[in-house]
C-alpha cells in the first residue's frame, strides 16, 4: 500500500538542495497547520465573524443579518473569511500534511529501511500534537471514533479485500479461522482474567476495577489490527503463506471483537454475565460474521451486475464499485454486523466479475484510487494516533500498563503455539517453529483498539483514561518495538521471503491440469473431497453466475485463455514502454522463436513472400467491407465530450507504438511464424486488451503452399463499441483449414508493417493505417491486405 517514491540522485548536490527545499516547505506547512488547527479549535474563533463583512454591525455581537443599516462603508476589496471554509480547509490541510510527510520519508534514503513508516508517522503525529500544545491551543480530538470507523478505516479494508489473493486465503481458511476466532477469544480471556487477578492484589490501588471491565479491556486489546499488520508486513516481504495467515487473522477477528465488545459493554452495567448471555453471545457471533459476509456478498453481486451494463458509460464505472462497497460497509455497521467482513466479502465477490466487465482504464483507475485512498488513510491514522497520544487525558499506572504489555505478549505466544499444535494435525504443509514465531511476533495492535477504547462511555467506565493509556502504550510497544525489529529478525531467521517469480504459462497450464487430475482421482476413489467441491463450485459459477454477471460473451472464456491474454497484453505494454528498440519482449519472453520449435515440414520459403491464393470473390468482399467501414469512419466526429472517453483504449502510446514497431520490423531480419488468437468474440474486453502485437519476434512467414485462406485479424473494437464486429475475421475464417498454423497479419496499405495486430477501435485504426503513408518501401503496398 505504500507507494514507493524512488529517488534517483543524478547529481548529489542538486538533489540535496531539492530535498532541503522540500523539507523546508514541509516544516513551514507544519507550523501553519499547527497554528491553524490549534487556533481553529479554540473557542474564540467560532464567534469571530467575517471581519470585512457585507453588513455593518452597529451593535457588537449582533449577528442580525436582516437589519441592514445603510451607512455606507468603503466596499471591501479583500476580506478574510476563514470560518466559511474552515472544516474542509482543515481536512485538506491534514491530508496534505500526511502526504507530505510520506513524501519526506522517502527522501531520506536510509530512514525508511530502518524504521517502518508507521513509526515515523506516529512520531510526526506526536510532534504536531506537541507543537499544538506548545502553541497554547487545545489539541483537536482528531481520532474521533466516528471519523475513524466511517471514513478512515473503509478504504484500507476495501483495498485489502479487493486485492486479497483468494486462492491462498481459501486454502488456509481453516487455519486463519482458528487463529482469528479461537486465538482472539483466548487472548481476550487470558489478558482480561489475569489483569483482573492482578488488580485484586493489594498494593496496586486498582481494586475498583471489576471483572467485566477487565474482560472488556482484554477483548479490546487482544485483536490484531489489520492496519498495523498491513503497514509493517508490506515492507518485510515475507512469503505468501505467513502474510496471508497474519493478515487474514487480522481481518477475520473483527467479528469476534465486535461481539465481545458489545457483550461486555452491555453487561458491565449489570455487573454479571449469565450462561444465557454466553449462549446469546455465541449466536450473536454467528450472526455478526455470517451476516456481515452475506451483506457484503449481496452488494458485491449488485456491483457486478451493475457493471455489466456500463459499457456505454465507462467514465463512472469505478464509482459504482466504490459506492457499492462503502454502502455494504455502512449497511453492515447499521445492523452492528461486522463491517470489515462485509467489505472483504464485497470486494472479493465482485472482483472476478467486475474485472471481466470494466474497461482497462477503469480497472487502472480503481486500482490506483484504492491504493491512494488506503495509503492516505493509513498515514492519517498513524499521525492521528500520535496527536491523540499528546491530546488525550492520561492516567498512567505503572502496574496496569506494564502488566498489560507483558500479558499481551505472553498470551499471544502461548495462543499461537497451542493453536499451531492442534492445527498441524490437519494441515498438509505444517507450520514450522519459525512460522509460528513470525505469526506470534506479527500480532500488532493498532488504531482500532484505540478507537474502541475511545468509544467507551465515561460514566460507565471511570477507569477509561487508564484503559486508554494502557492501549496506547501497547500500540506503541507493538508498532515501535515489534515493528522495527521484525525485519531484522526475519532476515536473521532466514524466513522464506516472497517469491517474485512471474507466473509462467506452463505453471498456469499445470495448475489447471493438476486441479482436474486431482478431481478425477477423487472421483475415481469415490471420495468427495476438497477438489470435488471446488470443481463443482467452479462449474456452478460458470454455468449460472457468470452468465448473469458478465457482459456479453465474455463469460465463456476459460481461465487459461484469460491468463494467456493477460500475459500477451502485459508484454505488449512492456514493449510500448520499453521503446521496443533494443530488447524484444514477446508474449513469451524468449530468444527462441517459433521456427525453433516447429518441425520443419517444408523447405524454407524463397526470399519474397508468396501470396496465398485469394479467390476473386473473396477479395472483392474484403474490399467492399473495408470501404464501407472507412466510410463510416469518416463520418465520425471526434469532439470533446465530458461523458465519454476517447474511443480507443490505447491511444496514449499508440502512435509511438506503431512507429516503434515499424522500426523494430526493419531491424528484425528473421521471420518466423506468427501466431495469434483469432477472436471469435466481438465484444470481449480482455481479448481486446490483448490484441496488441505481443510477439515482435513472430512475424508471419508465409509458407510456400497456401494453407487455405488465412484469417485476417483486425483488432477488435474498444470495449465501448461492442457492435463493431470482427467481420473480416469471420469472412476469412470460412473454409480455412484450421489445423495448420494460421499466421495472421494485417498489413495496411500505407504502412508496410507485417505481423501486427492492432489495438484500438477497428475503424479509426484502419483509417489511420490506411491513410497514413508510412515509411515503408515494400512493394506489397498496392494490396489492401497481405494475408
Amino acid at each position: 500500500m505504500s507507494v514507493r517514491v524512488v529517488l534517483h540522485s543524478p547529481s548529489g548536490s542538486r538533489s540535496f538542495l531539492e530535498r532541503g527545499l522540500l523539507l523546508l516547505v514541509m516544516l513551514i506547512f507544519l507550523e501553519g497547520t499547527v497554528l491553524t488547527l490549534g487556533a481553529a479549535s479554540s473557542p474564540d474563533i467560532s464567534a469571530q465573524d467575517n471581519t470585512g463583512g457585507h453588513d455593518h454591525r452597529g451593535i457588537a455581537g449582533s449577528h442580525d443579518h436582516t437589519n441592514y443599516t445603510y451607512t455606507k462603508k468603503a466596499f471591501p476589496v479583500l476580506s478574510l473569511d476563514y470560518h466559511h471554509i474552515q472544516v474542509p480547509f482543515e481536512i485538506s490541510l491534514w491530508v496534505l500534511l500526511a502526504s507530505l510527510m510520506k513524501l519526506g520519508f522517502h527522501l531520506i534514503p536510509r530512514l525508511s529501511s530502518i524504521v517502518p513508516e508507521s513509526c515515523l508517522l506516529i512520531v510526526v503525529g506526536l510532534l504536531v500534537g506537541g507543537l499544538i500544545k506548545l502553541a497554547g491551543e487545545e489539541v483537536p480530538p482528531v481520532l474521533d471514533s466516528n471519523l475513524f470507523f466511517l471514513c478512515l478505516l473503509p478504504p484500507i479494508i476495501l483495498d485489502a479485500g479487493y486485492f486479497l489473493p483468494i486462492r491462498p486465503f481459501m486454502e488456509n481458511i481453516g487455519t486463519i479461522l482458528m487463529f482469528a476466532v479461537v486465538g482472539t477469544l483466548w487472548n481476550a480471556f487470558f489478558v482480561g482474567g489475569l489483569l483482573y487477578a492482578v488488580c485484586q492484589i493489594e498494593g496496586t490501588y486498582l481494586s475498583q476495577v471489576e471483572l467485566l471491565p477487565c474482560l472488556l479491556f482484554g477483548s479490546i486489546i487482544s485483536a490484531v489490527d489489520p492496519v498495523a499488520v498491513l503497514a509493517v508486513f508490506e515492507e518485510i516481504h515475507i512469503n505468501e503463506l505467513l502474510h496471508i495467515l497474519v493478515f487474514g487473522e487480522s481481518l477475520l477477528n473483527d467479528a469476534v471483537t465486535v461481539v465481545l465488545y458489545h457483550l461486555f459493554e452491555e453487561y458491565s452495567g449489570a455487573g454479571e454475565v449469565t450462561p444465557m448471555d454466553v449462549v446469546l453471545g455465541v449466536i450473536c457471533f454467528l450472526i455478526v460474521s455470517l451476516g456481515g459476509i452475506a451483506v457484503g456478498a449481496i452488494y458485491g453481486i449488485l456491483a457486478a451486475f451493475t457493471s455489466r451494463f456500463t459499457s456505454h458509460t465507462r467514465v463512472i464505472e469505478p464509482l459504482f464499485m466504490f459506492v457499492y462497497s462503502y454502502m455494504a460497509y455502512l449497511s453492515a455497521e447499521m445492523f452492528h454486523l461486522s463491517g470489515i467482513m462485509a467489505l472483504i466479502a464485497c470486494g472479493a465477490v465482485m472482483r472476478p466479475y467486475v474485472e471481466a466487465n470494466i474497461s482497462h482504464k477503469s480497472h487502472t483507475t480503481v486500482k490506483y484510487f484504492l491504493k491512494m485512498w488506503s495509503s492516505v488513510s493509513e498515514t492519517l491514522i498513524f499521525i492521528f494516533l500520535g496527536v491523540a497520544t499528546v491530546a488525550g487525558p492520561h492516567a498512567w499506572n505503572w502496574t496496569f500498563v506494564s502488566v498489560t504489555v507483558i500479558l499481551c505478549l505472553v498470551s499471544r505466544v502461548i495462543g499461537v503455539v497451542g493453536l499451531t499444535f492442534i492445527i498441524n494435525k490437519f494441515r498438509i504443509v505444517k507450520l514450522t517453529t519459525k512460522d509460528q514465531f513470525i505469526v506470534a511476533y506479527g500480532g500488532l495492535r493498532g488504531a482500532i483498539a484505540f478507537s474502541l477504547g475511545y468509544l467507551l462511555d465515561k460514566d460507565l467506565f471511570p477507569m477509561r483514561t487508564m484503559f486508554l493509556t494502557a492501549i496506547i502504550t501497547e500500540i506503541f510497544f507493538t508498532v515501535f518495538v515489534q515493528g522495527m525489529t521484525i525485519k531484522p529478525l526475519v532476515d536473521l531467521l532466514a524466513v522464506k521471503k516472497k517469491q517474485e517469480a512471474k507466473r509462467s504459462i506452463n505453471e498456469e497450464i499445470h495448475t489447471q491440469f493438476l486441479d482436474h487430475l486431482l478431481t478425477g482421482i477423487e472421483d475415481i476413489c469415490g471420495h468427495y473431497g476438497h477438489h470435488h467441491w471446488k470443481d463443482k463450485l467452479n462449474r456452478f459459477n460458470k454455468k449460472y453466475i457468470k452468465k448473469c454477471l458478465i457482459a456479453g460473451e465474455r463469460y465463456k472464456e476459460p481461465q487459461l485463455i484469460a491468463f494467456y491474454h493477460k500475459m500477451e497484453f502485459k508484454q505488449a505494454i512492456e514493449l510500448v514502454e520499453s521503446g521496443g528498440g533494443v530488447k524484444l519482449p514477446s508474449a513469451v519472453p524468449s530468444q527462441v522463436s517459433m521456427q525453433n520449435i516447429q518441425p520443419k515440414k517444408l523447405p524454407p520459403p524463397v526470399a519474397e513472400r508468396a501470396l496465398p491464393q485469394f479467390t476473386k470473390g473473396r477479395e472483392e468482399e474484403i474490399r467492399k467491407i473495408l470501404r464501407s467501414n472507412l466510410q463510416k469512419t469518416r463520418q465520425r466526429l471526434r469532439s470533446y465530450n465530458r461523458h465519454t472517453l476517447v474511443a480507443d483504449p490505447f491511444e496514449d502510446g499508440w502512435n509511438d507504438f506503431l512507429l516503434k514497431k515499424q522500426r523494430l520490423i526493419e531491424l528484425e531480419k528473421k521471420m518466423s511464424n506468427y501466431l495469434t488468437v483469432p477472436g471469435a468474440i466481438p465484444d470481449s474486453p480482455t481479448m481486446c486488451r490483448a490484441r496488441l502485437a505481443s510477439d515482435p519476434n513472430a512475424f508471419y512467414n508465409i509458407k510456400a503452399s497456401s494453407d487455405g485462406v488465412p484469417t485476417i485479424q483486425v483488432d477488435l473494437a474498444s470495449p465501448q463499441s461492442p457492435d463493431s464486429v470482427n467481420m473480416l475475421n469471420e469472412e476469412g475464417r470460412e473454409g480455412a483449414d484450421r489445423d495448420e498454423d494460421q499466421g495472421l497479419m494485417m498489413k495496411p496499405a500505407g504502412k508496410g508493417e507485417k505481423g501486427e495486430e492492432e489495438g484500438g477501435n477497428k475503424n479509426p485504426g484502419l483509417m489511420r493505417c490506411l491513410s497514413d503513408p508510412g515509411p515503408s518501401n515494400e512493394d506489397e503496398e498496392d494490396e489492401p491486405f497481405l494475408p
Binding site: H516, L518, V592
Partner: protein, 220 residues
C-alpha cells in the same frame, strides 16, 4: 463386501502396505472401492473407469483413465499399455497421490517430487518416447480447454506454442534459427516446474472413510 476379506487378503494387504506406504485401513478402503468399480471382479478395465458418472465433466478424463493403464506408472520399467489392471496396479497408481509425510529429508523430498512429476510427464508423453513434443503438448492444452467450446480449440494451439517457446527459452537459452527443439525432456520438465510445489499440491486425502458405503460416485 466384508465377505471378500479373508486372512489371505489381510496378509496381502500388509505386504502392500509395506511396499506402498499406505495404512492398512486406507488399503482396505481402496480395495472396497476397487471391488465396487470392477463389479467384484479381479481386474478393472477401461470401461469400468469410464462409467463413473462424475468423471463426465472432467476435460482430461481420457488422459486420467489412460494413466491407470500405462505401464510406466506401474513401477515397471516397461512402456506400453495394459488392458486390465488388478488391485495391486490400481494401488500403485494411487501411491502417486499420497501426501508428503512430515519430516522428510531433502533427498526424500526430491525423490517424491520426481515421482509425482514423472507421473504428470507420463500423462503428457503419450507416445512414450521420453519427450513431450509440440503435438503432444498441443493436445494437452486442447484437452484442457475441450469443454470451452470453439474458442478453446483455436486458442489452445497458441497457448501450447507459447508455452513451448517458454520451455525452450528457459532450458536452451538462445537458439539459432536452424536449430530445432525436439521436445520437453523430463529434466526440462523438472526445471520449468521448479517453483511448483508439487509435493504438497498433488495429493488426495485418503481419509479413513468407508467409501463403499457412501453414496458417491457409483460406477453404475
Amino acid at each position: 463386501m466384508g465377505a471378500s476379506q479373508s486372512a489371505g487378503t489381510e496378509h496381502e494387504f500388509q505386504d502392500l502396505a509395506d511396499r506402498t506406504g499406505f495404512s492398512l485401513e486406507q488399503i482396505g478402503n481402496i480395495n472396497k472401492r476397487f471391488r465396487q468399480l470392477s463389479n467384484n471382479e479381479e481386474t478393472l478395465s477401461r470401461e469400468d473407469l469410464a462409467s463413473i458418472p462424475a468423471l463426465d465433466n472432467n476435460p482430461i478424463r481420457a488422459q486420467i483413465i489412460n494413466a491407470f493403464f500405462d505401464k510406466r506408472n506401474l513401477h515397471q520399467n516397461e512402456t506400453g499399455t495394459v488392458q486390465e489392471i488388478g488391485f495391486e496396479e490400481f494401488l500403485m497408481v494411487m501411491t502417486h497421490f499420497r501426501p508428503a509425510a512430515m519430516g522428510l529429508t531433502e533427498e526424500e523430498r526430491e525423490n517424491l517430487r520426481r515421482e509425482k512429476l514423472r507421473f504428470l510427464f507420463n500423462m503428457h508423453d503419450t507416445d512414450s518416447d521420453g519427450t513431450i513434443n509440440l503435438e503432444e503438448y498441443r493436445r494437452v492444452v486442447e484437452e484442457l480447454l475441450s469443454k470451452a467450446g470453439t474458442i478453446g480449440q483455436e486458442t489452445a494451439k497458441a497457448i501450447a506454442d507459447a508455452a513451448m517457446l517458454e520451455v525452450a527459452s528457459t532450458t536452451r537459452g538462445k537458439m539459432e534459427p536452424d536449430e530445432f527443439y525436439e521436445g520437453i525432456t523430463f529434466e526440462n520438465f523438472l526445471q520449468i516446474l521448479n517453483t511448483f510445489d508439487i509435493e504438497t499440491r498433488m495429493h488426495v486425502r485418503f481419509l479413513h472413510m468407508d467409501t463403499a458405503t457412501l453414496r458417491c460416485g457409483k460406477s453404475k
